[in-house]
Symmetry: C2
Subunit: 324 residues, 2 copies
């Protein structure tokens, strides 16, 4: 479901309408009446079918959008989150994790939530991903990958002030991220010999120390450690020359040192179709690479491309795990 | 000329060979024998014609590459700079500036130099641009713009460690850059009402302070000050969502807070054709957006696209100034 005041409902309904475009079977964990009302509002012919058990969804999917009910109607209006909905938002996430963990679902795809709205209702996790990790009983940090057909990027530090991201950067964090990404590329992306490109923190990767010491003292030792552990990593590389078309052919994923270093190139290349993949959880989890979009919610204009890409990628990853 | 151990000579000769592609008339300030030897080495049919006065170059250009001799032969071999060449490298720059200042040339286009090689010979300027500013008798800091057909970006801080760039960022520097860029877009780029997009420093432009204070305390006041001064600036904007195709249509130049924030998007979009433009000098100066490329120098494979784009842009800017 995600945040019911956002575009989650309408893009879920849209994704079902576009099921002919190779969208794998999915079920929503949401309020069936709410989704049916959304479809009616936009004159979209979408039969919504409540299901008690996810197992029923597969045979239904061709004819109707299967919805496992969350048990109550959200109070939010488009663009206006309601604090009272927080427990439904969290319940939907918890149900998805339980279904994936118990094998009733092959993967979890999450629609965007509003951290603000949840915080006001007492939610205390730094974000969606950390909450999922806790639900999964995972203690290791989850790793965020953003993927589009042309590029995969992994920010080693994520939601921190830039100054703080620099202070937090460590050889250990880069090595851990590199190992998780290497394993995921093999297992979930079907890449037998993954190649990682590691970005430098400073301009020109520090120019031998003239433009900052971190690339020599933190990043280079991480690359050496990864290589010693059998990971095919290269770097630190000058970040500005890593992301053009020819350069991208040289690696399967780029490890980036901070949020914008990873997100600027991928959102520049593919703004609508990027997928957020959480690596290091005990189940597969993807999500669209955008927010709740309160400004356009309820108008039926939100694009479902990123959600569809997230559904497709989750299915492809699940298929590879099933075969392995 | 630029660094004679780099690709400067061969791309200058290449640019002349491609003069049919709308390359404006130019003359090299170089060693004529060296350029003739380069052309012979690659079997390129390029008559090299020494000229004493730049004024002779215009009528010659259709038939031969005009070269104002620097007075000696560089000793460097491809990929191997020679300390003894430093005075020739600097003499070529000085001659170009004098020609532009005295109206014998419409603009200066510089090939890449090797700061390392010059430093070893006693050069004490932080870079090419600062040296040009000094030669021009300019005391205000020069502003670097990178331009390609799809995007113009201006890093407010340039060659500093990322940590230092954050510490150096000031409202004053952003306002100064914004004013110089606004004036240049009007005078040199023919944009009557320029629109500037100002990137935030932190992820999500600081998310209201949750991800760093600099966007509230430094960037936002700069945008307000620019607007009060009549500059159509917007921001601070989340940097990751500023550079995709639709977003780019909303502005004429992006002011970025640090090197990679500006250079990652433009080099991702157009790696070969970007041009470096120095704003705030008393003459027009452009340069290709790449380095000396010692690794491929002397092989005749270097692409002249960026130099050609730099020549074209310089000519277009000069034509606009002449009309105004």
């Amino acid at each position: 479901m995600g945040e019911p005041a956002g575009i989650g409902g309408e893009i879920a309904v849209q994704a079902w309408r576009r099921r002919g475009e190779g969208v794998p079977p999915f079920y929503a964990i949401d309020d069936p009446a709410r989704l049916a009302a959304l479809a009616r509002r936009f004159d979209w012919d979408v039969p919504v079918h409540p299901v008690k058990r996810p197992e029923e969804a597969l045979s239904l999917f061709a004819e109707a959008l299967p919805v496992v009910p969350i048990g109550a109607a959200p109070r939010a209006r488009p663009g206006q989150p309601d604090r009272a909905d927080a427990r439904l938002v969290l319940a939907a996430i918890e149900r998805a994790v339980a279904d994936a963990r118990d094998g009733r679902a092959a993967a979890v795809v999450t629609n965007p939530i509003s951290k603000d709205a949840l915080y006001r209702a007492g939610f205390r996790h730094p974000g969606h991903t950390e909450y999922l990790a806790e639900l999964a009983g995972s203690t290791a940090p989850a790793i965020m990958m953003l993927a589009c057909p042309e590029l995969r990027v992994v920010p080693v530090t994520i939601h921190h002030a830039l100054r703080e991201a620099i202070a937090l950067l460590s050889t250990q964090a880069i090595v851990y991220a590199g190992q998780v990404v290497d394993a995921a590329l093999r297992r979930d992306f079907g890449i037998a010999s993954p190649r990682l490109a590691v970005a430098g923190l400073n301009p020109h990767a520090g120019e031998g120390g003239a433009l900052g010491r971190e690339d020599l003292d933190i990043v280079a030792p991480a690359v050496a450690e990864l290589r010693a552990a059998g990971v095919n990593a290269r770097g630190p590389l000058a970040a500005d020359t890593m992301f053009h078309e020819r350069a991208r052919r040289g690696y399967d994923a780029a490890l980036c040192m901070y949020h914008d270093q990873a997100l600027i190139p991928i959102k520049t290349i593919d703004f609508d179709g990027g997928v957020n993949v959480t690596l290091g959880l005990p189940f597969i989890r993807t999500s669209p690479d955008h927010g709740t979009a309160f400004d356009i919610a309820g108008r039926g204009v939100a694009r479902a491309d990123s959600l569809i890409a997230a559904l497709r990628l989750a299915a492809a990853m699940a298929a590879r795990r099933a075969r392995s």
